[in-house]
């Protein structure tokens, strides 16, 4: 069932390419703005780069989540699974996985120009960087999907998602920035694994919480 729900989102996105394209273009534009703004102080870029990276990821995630849940509102498509004998919690998990796939693809696409334009060093563990990206974006989308579910029926949902997501995801952004900063400085994992554990905890707790409450929040 989970795969059935994920494949539906992937099929719609493969056809329209709306979500990934808009997130990539937005991420690239913000990267360019940052690169131009910090041109006068290139030394500062290295200090601020981890924070800038997670600001871009957070902003692009909002775009993606907004669009992903809009699919459910058009023609009240959500009625198809709200009235079906399926565990609605699985729909939430499927949305988290779909959103994670879309955000990670767009991050992979704009992270290369991010490193080139901001002239950042790349001598660090790519495996650890991948793990930080996975847990960081996973935490953001698990919180974001829950908020998108709560605001699914709201008229002002386009505004509500960022207003509710940014404060809720700020601990994730801080932890992810810390992890990325330590990684860029080539500090050993043992000195910053605490922040990585925070990311993992957020991902697991919000995914479980979303799975449990999604059943109640999607009804009108």
């Amino acid at each position: 069932m989970l795969l059935h729900l994920i494949l539906k989102d992937l099929k719609i996105e493969m056809r329209s390419k709306e979500i990934i394209a808009s997130m990539f273009i937005f991420g690239l534009s913000v990267t360019l703005i940052f690169a131009l703004a910090f041109q006068v102080a290139p030394v500062m870029i290295h200090t601020f780069a981890p924070g800038l990276l997670w600001v871009v990821i957070l902003f692009t995630s909002v775009l993606g989540l907004n669009r992903l849940f809009s699919l459910e509102r058009e023609e009240h498509a959500l009625w198809s699974w709200v009235t079906a004998p399926v565990d609605r919690g699985l729909v939430y998990i499927a949305k988290v996985i779909s959103a994670l796939i879309f955000v990670l693809i767009s991050v992979i696409l704009f992270i290369i120009p991010f490193f080139i334009f901001l002239n950042l060093p790349t001598e660090f563990s790519f495996f650890q960087f991948g793990l930080i990206l996975l847990l960081g974006t996973g935490s953001i989308v698990s919180i974001g999907c829950l908020i998108s579910g709560i605001t699914l029926q709201a008229g002002l949902r386009d505004v509500l998602i960022p207003i509710l997501l940014f404060p809720s995801a700020s601990p994730v952004a801080i932890a992810a920035t810390k992890c990325t900063g330590f990684l860029f400085e080539n500090k050993p994992l043992t000195t910053w694994n605490f922040w990585l554990l925070i990311l993992a905890s957020f991902f697991v707790i919000f995914s479980l919480f979303g799975y449990l409450v999604f059943n109640k929040i999607v009804e009108e």
């Binding site: 059935h4 719609i12 498509a77 198809s80 079906a84 004998p85 565990d87 109640k216 009108e220």
Partner: protein, 203 residues
Amino acid sequence: MNLQVTNLFKSFYRSPVIKSFSLSVNSGERIGISGPNGSGKTTLLKMLSGIMAIDSGDIQVGNHFIDPEFTLPRKSIHYLGHSAGAYPGLTGEENLIFISGLYGMDALGVTECLEKVGLDSAKEKQIKYYSQGMLQRLKLAITILLDSDILLLDEPLSGLDSNGIQLFQQLLDEWQENKKTMLIVSHDHNWLSSITDRIIYLN
């Protein structure tokens, strides 16, 4: 399948729309629901289908109560509403395959359902390009496919041309033969009285 509604209550922004509503529908019975705009006809059907949460009261389908935690009773009820309840980015065929998967059914009957409602030539077209009448036919195809015991039909003739209305009348006869329990919402009181066993007027 029987449907029992007891003391149903629903309000929006502290303004009650449905107060202490009770209804008993026997298996195979056809009930018409009529009333002015804003009287709660669609709200009632949405609560029965599980789309809308209820404030208080009970809805019993067969031996099961409608509750967000229990998925089983949802298999017995299908709501045909104002919107398609399908994904505009998918084709008509893909939507039916997706919905059949949600009900744990195989996709063998999909093509047959689309043929029955006259959408076989448009089955590979994304439904965002469908006209209002085609969307209404798609909703009928979904209803045929799911073959639920209780059908909640909200303005089922809306957007249908004369052929579509004829098709719906045929389906209505088939559903009656198959002892489907039906709740039909319409503003056309004469039409409702001609096809239902009794009419409930909401005000």
